[in-house]
């Protein structure tokens, strides 16, 4: 935790981080002076009728009050600066790690997002808290004890009974209530689940007339939750009245005992008043300390989560002297094996060659390793055995930028970014002109919803592209991959949500794009790849057959079965 803070505060931020608590000490010191000064006014000033002394002490009080403000505000200023600077550095670092990470099976995007947003904010608040509250409350408490002992040592024993009693009581109650709050949280999750399912599955619920069933479930969940939250709330219900009582009794005892001492002239009235004031101050500070400890323990888990992200393996080390860009777009896999865990390889002994300019089709079931194969080609992961070459060069010897400029991919989940159609299409080729963009839009058969061009290029795209339908997103996704005019074009099941007729049109137009480049088309549809120069059939991470459509009909029972279910098993099978 402290390490994270140190690594992400530099220069002025680091100075502020250490300076803030010191300044806070100043404020605490000033605060602690007030009751004592006041006691002297009452005991010395009033008793002796010394107006000059009263004025003198009063101006001291005023001075400390103003000094307190300066210190307090200063601490706030420094603390805000340190914590925000740390948050800024932390977010930037974490995002860089997240974006550069090429490790297989890392944290899920949802987890990463929560950590970079919520957990960093928690850390930010924690640092703010450390610089202020962590010093203020405990110091005020300790200082208060010291000062009250100094101002009236005779009454001090009261504190030594009251304070431990409160601490023990609070500790017991908090500890007992904690599991009850956790239990409640679990019930909250349970009920949220029923509610969310009810909203997401509204159509299914109506179709199957599940309303009564759902209501019964909800009623049960609601009752359990209500009971759990009542139990949790009841577990701490004694806290407030008991603290209140102990403190009040402390004051009464101070008055009775202190009063009896005053009557026998062993104590001054002002001292009793100051003592009571300190006691209130101490108790308030003590409650503050407990609150901070609770908050701290919550934030410390955030620190752990943040640390886990930072510890994620970063980008593969760039090659010292990267090889020059390959001259041809020949792709070759040579005995490539890859897996997140060694025992269960995702790709096993993959070997094939695609000559430059040729069309490769890949077909197979979900989970057969098709997408992983592309991930390796684009160097999403480097920890495989065997070699992959483009134009004869081992891709691990190329810089990442070179690889990405060689291979352009339309991914399976067509993810768009908020901005405009143009900003999305130029994502891989910042300098592409309108003409190229319009051309690519036409290839992806997206002109019907992007009219008129080029005006439609400036149409806004919402986050994840949700203002476009699934089929439209896929077409934009294809256009984006076409724009950079890379030597190798990959379409990874990129038309699954596009209707038949449009799909046919896209495939037809891609033919022209194929002319001068190597194309890899992954699909579950035989129709999309049946004319490829070479087709790989993938099952369970292996290539089980390779060849042309006609060859595969004989070589691969799996392929023949696919053809039978998809094309109806007759005609068209041998027509090329």
């Amino acid at each position: 935790m402290f390490q994270i803070v140190m690594q992400h505060t530099h220069g002025r931020a680091r100075v502020s981080f250490f300076l803030a608590p010191l300044v806070m000490l100043g404020e605490v010191f000033c605060d602690l002076q007030q009751p004592t000064l006041m006691a002297t006014i009452i005991d010395s000033g009033l008793a002796k009728g010394d107006m000059a002394f009263v004025v003198h002490q009063a101006s001291l009080m005023a001075l400390f009050a103003v000094l307190g403000l300066v210190c307090g505000a200063g601490c706030g200023f420094l603390g805000s600066f340190a914590s925000l600077a740390m948050g800024q550095a932390l977010r930037a670092d974490m995002l860089a790690v997240a974006l550069n990470s090429r490790k297989a099976g890392g944290l899920s995007p949802a987890t990463l997002i929560t950590r970079i947003t919520n957990d960093v904010t928690q850390m930010q608040n924690l640092v703010m808290m450390i610089t202020r509250g962590m010093v203020r409350s405990p110091m005020l408490m300790i200082g208060g004890i010291v000062m009250s002992v100094l101002v009236s040592p005779a009454l001090a024993p009261i504190l030594f009974v009251v304070l431990p009693a409160l601490v023990i009581f609070m500790a017991v109650v908090v500890r007992r209530s904690l599991p009850k709050y956790l239990a409640m949280q679990k019930q909250v999750d349970g009920m949220n689940r029923v509610m969310r399912e009810n909203l997401q599955g509204a159509k299914t619920i109506k179709a199957y007339v599940l309303e009564p069933h759902q209501l019964t479930q909800f009623t049960a969940a609601n009752r359990t939750l209500t009971n759990a939250s009542q139990t949790a709330a009841m577990a701490t219900v004694t806290l407030a009245p008991v603290i209140q009582l102990v403190l009040n009794l402390g004051v009464v005892v101070a008055l009775a005992y202190g009063g009896s001492l005053a009557i026998s002239s062993r104590l001054a009235t002002g001292q009793i008043i100051a003592f009571v004031n300190y006691m209130i101050q101490i108790t308030t500070a003590m409650i503050g300390t407990v609150n901070i400890i609770t908050a701290f323990s919550r934030a410390i888990t955030s620190a752990g989560r943040v640390q886990a992200v930072l510890a994620e393996e970063a980008a593969p080390q760039p090659v010292a002297v990267p090889a020059p860009a390959p001259a041809t777009a020949t792709i070759a896999f040579d005995h490539v094996t890859f897996g997140y865990a060694a025992a269960t390889p995702i790709l096993q002994d993959i070997s094939f060659t695609v000559p430059a300019g040729q069309w490769l089709g890949i077909i197979g079931t979900t989970g057969s390793g098709k997408t992983s194969l592309i991930n390796l080609l684009t160097r999403a992961f480097d920890d495989y055995t065997g070699t992959i070459t483009i134009g004869g060069r081992d891709i691990r010897q190329l810089s990442l930028a070179t690889v990405h400029h060689q291979v352009s991919v339309a991914t399976q989940d067509s993810l768009l970014f908020s901005g405009t159609v143009r900003s999305n299409l130029t994502y891989g080729a910042a300098t592409a002109g309108d003409e190229r963009l319009s051309q690519s839009v036409a290839v992806a058969s997206a002109t019907d919803f992007l009219a008129p061009l080029p005006d439609a290029l400036d149409r806004p795209v919402a986050q994840t592209g949700k203002n476009f339908s699934g089929g439209q997103r896929q077409r934009l996704n294809i256009a984006r991959a076409v724009v950079p005019d890379a030597p190798i074009l990959v379409l990874d099941d990129a038309t699954s949500a596009v209707d038949q007729v449009t799909n046919a049109r896209i495939q037809k137009r891609l033919a022209a794009e194929r002319a001068n480049r190597t194309t890899v088309i992954i699909s579950q549809r035989v129709a999309n790849i049946q004319h490829a120069a070479q087709i790989l059939v993938m099952e369970d991470g292996r290539i089980t057959a390779a060849g042309t459509h006609a060859q595969l009909l004989h070589r691969s029972p799996f392929y023949a079965r696919l053809v039978a279910t998809q094309l109806g098993g007759d005609a068209h099978a041998d027509d090329d």
């Binding site: 925000l84 997002i113 509204a202 299914t204 209501l215 009245p241």
Partner: protein
């Protein structure tokens, strides 16, 4: 003595809230609280007592100093202190009961409100779910109900206590010493004015901060979930550079907002200290000048009052704001309860069964003002297989949604066994029609329960038979927990094809005479696809079936094929008749085989 933290993390800018009908909302909450009226009356009395005991106690402290300590009356001192202790003890017991009662009343009320919202949600028309964000409804059911709960449990009592404390102490102070009261009021006023002024400055800073934070989070979300694309297009550095800008913008805005608002605490602290000083000094000067009203005990009382006075006043203002927010929450929640539900016609007869003949007569349907279906006609005799084909968005699924009366149609009639479906009880109608959706929804329950949802009450054996019929039994038994496997959220643990099989099993168990199959378009792996096809064929046996087909190979043997384009039936007939015609169907049919 009242407990209060001098520097609570106060909301620096009170949010502006627009309330539509405060009176009605409060009355309605009152209605929910009805059963707890007696308990709440008790809470009211207890609160008055505990607050007054604080005020009295503080004053007695001063009196003790003046009359007994100053005049050496030891015995009286001890007696009064004993009485004080007794009073505090009673007050604490009262606080305990006060809290216990409020917790119960608030929790039970929140539970009942939640129950009412959910019950109404069950009856809302499909349209409501289409047009409202899940996130928004969830937030009403959770955050907003919680806000009401908090308002009832804490805000109300605190506000009430605060008001009594301020009024009671104000009166007591005024009686004791108008001069010192004026000073205390001035201090309070200064604190108040300053925090308003700072709030104004920080308000805009906080708004900027929130906007910057929104932009920041969006960027994080987008780039992390789009990481694959970012990497593929070699965009990492640009993304990080862009982010650095937003990050800096946020940090700047947040610094202004936080630096200002963090000065508020120390400032309040200073005004408190100055008020202390002024009261002590003014009191001392009065005493030295021979005042009869001001005594050391009065100063003592005032100092303690002051701690308890500025706090509640500021608190009361915050609490009023919190209360407004809670009322706004209540309005949002009640809005959901008041949302008009789907209602069957009052005289709708029960329809226990049907043979399964279906007719659409000149059906028009528009969503909002956007026309979706125009003059759709179709006739299906019991046992027919009707296929609907056409491009995405042509209206195929909509036609089926009208059959189950999910949406009100604008013109024409839909008949099941000759009865207009809109005149039937919706639940009866839907029990007669089984729909297998394109993306079936699975609940986070066991596979067994998920299948059983087709007909709650079906036996385990029936569930198993349905799974066997649906070709799902084999994969289910291969799972480590078999039928007792609890599905993850969105059934993410099993493949989409397997999800389809489960949904077919669910359909098998319903035994309804009419079946609607919405074929999955997205990537089901081809092996499972064959299993799904077989299961669907088996399911159709002996039923009137509507098949929304995306793969034309599956529907050659349909009794009738309807080609839907732009909400109209453009062609209909058997496979061979339509092919021979050489129209839209023939085009569609040929396109799937040879795109290249």
């Amino acid at each position: 003595m009242q407990m209060m933290t001098r520097r609570g993390p106060r909301n620096p800018h009170r949010q502006k809230v627009t309330l539509h009908n405060v009176g009605a909302t409060i009355r309605r909450i009152g209605g929910y609280l009805g059963t707890y009226r007696k308990a709440l009356a008790v809470v009211f009395v207890l609160t008055v007592f505990t607050t007054l005991s604080t005020i009295v106690g503080n004053r007695v402290n001063g009196i003790v100093v003046d009359r007994y300590i100053a005049h050496n009356k030891l015995q009286a001192l001890l007696v009064v202190c004993g009485l004080l202790a007794a009073m505090y003890l009673v007050a604490s017991v009262c606080t305990y009961f006060q809290n216990t009662l409020t917790i119960k009343a608030a929790q039970q009320t929140a539970a009942r409100i939640r129950q009412d919202v959910f019950a109404n949600l069950q009856r809302l028309p499909m349209r409501y779910f289409d047009t409202h964000d899940t996130g928004d409804i969830m937030s009403r059911l959770t955050n907003d109900v919680d806000n009401i709960n908090t308002a009832l449990m804490q805000t109300f009592v605190q506000l009430f206590t605060g008001v009594i404390a301020v009024v009671g102490m104000g009166a007591a102070m005024l009686i004791l010493s108008p001069l010192l009261t004026a000073i205390a009021l001035l201090a309070t006023l200064a604190t108040y004015t300053f925090s308003r002024a700072v709030a104004k400055v920080t308000q805009s800073a906080f708004t900027t901060q929130q906007q910057a934070l929104g932009a920041l989070n969006t960027q994080i979300e987008e780039s992390v979930s789009g990481k694959a694309v970012v990497q593929l297009f070699d965009h990492t550095q640009q993304t990080l550079d862009q982010f650095a800008q937003t990050n800096a913008q946020y940090t700047r805005a947040a610094f202004i907002a936080q630096a200002f608002s963090s000065a508020m605490g120390p400032f309040n602290n200073m005004t408190n200290n100055l008020a202390y000083l002024l009261i002590t000094a003014a009191g001392a000067v009065s005493i030295l000048n021979g005042s009869h009203t001001v005594t050391v005990g009065v100063i003592f009382t005032f100092l303690i009052y002051l701690r308890n006075f500025t706090g509640p006043i500021n608190n009361v203002l915050d609490l009023i704001n919190t209360l407004q927010l809670s009322l706004a929450s209540a309005e949002r929640v009640f809005e959901l309860i008041d949302e008009p539900p789907e209602r069957d016609l009052p005289d709708a007869p029960a329809t226990p069964g049907a043979t399964g003949s279906v007719r659409f007569e000149h059906v028009d349907f528009a969503y909002d003002t956007r026309p979706i279906l125009k003059d759709v006609n179709l006739t299906a005799h019991a046992g027919d297989v009707i296929a609907l084909v056409g491009p995405t968005g042509a209206g195929k699924t909509t036609i089926m949604n009208l059959l189950t009366n999910l949406y009100p149609l604008q013109h024409g009639r839909v008949l099941l066994d000759g009865t207009d479906v809109t005149t039937m009880r919706r639940r009866d109608l839907r029990r007669l029609i089984t729909v297998v959706q394109q993306e079936p929804f699975m609940f986070q329950q066991t596979i067994r329960e998920n299948i059983r949802l087709g007909r709650p009450g079906a036996t385990d054996e029936e569930v198993k038979q349905a799974a066997i019929a649906a070709n799902a039994h084999v994969f289910i038994t291969q799972l480590p927990q078999g039928y007792d496997t609890v599905l993850a959220e969105n059934a993410s643990g099993i493949s989409q094809g397997q999800r389809q099989l489960l949904s077919i099993a669910r359909a098998f168990i319903t035994k309804a005479p009419v079946l609607v199959l919405d074929e999955a378009t997205a990537a089901i792996d081809s092996n499972t696809e064959a299993a799904v096809q077989h299961a669907m064929t088996a399911l159709m046996r002996g039923k009137t079936s509507f098949v929304i087909a995306h793969r034309l190979s599956t529907i050659r043997h349909a009794t009738q094929i309807l080609v839907i384009q732009d909400g109209r039936v453009v062609e209909s007939g058997t496979h061979s008749a339509l092919l021979a015609r050489g129209g839209a169907y023939a085009d569609l049919y040929n396109s799937q085989f040879d795109p290249a």
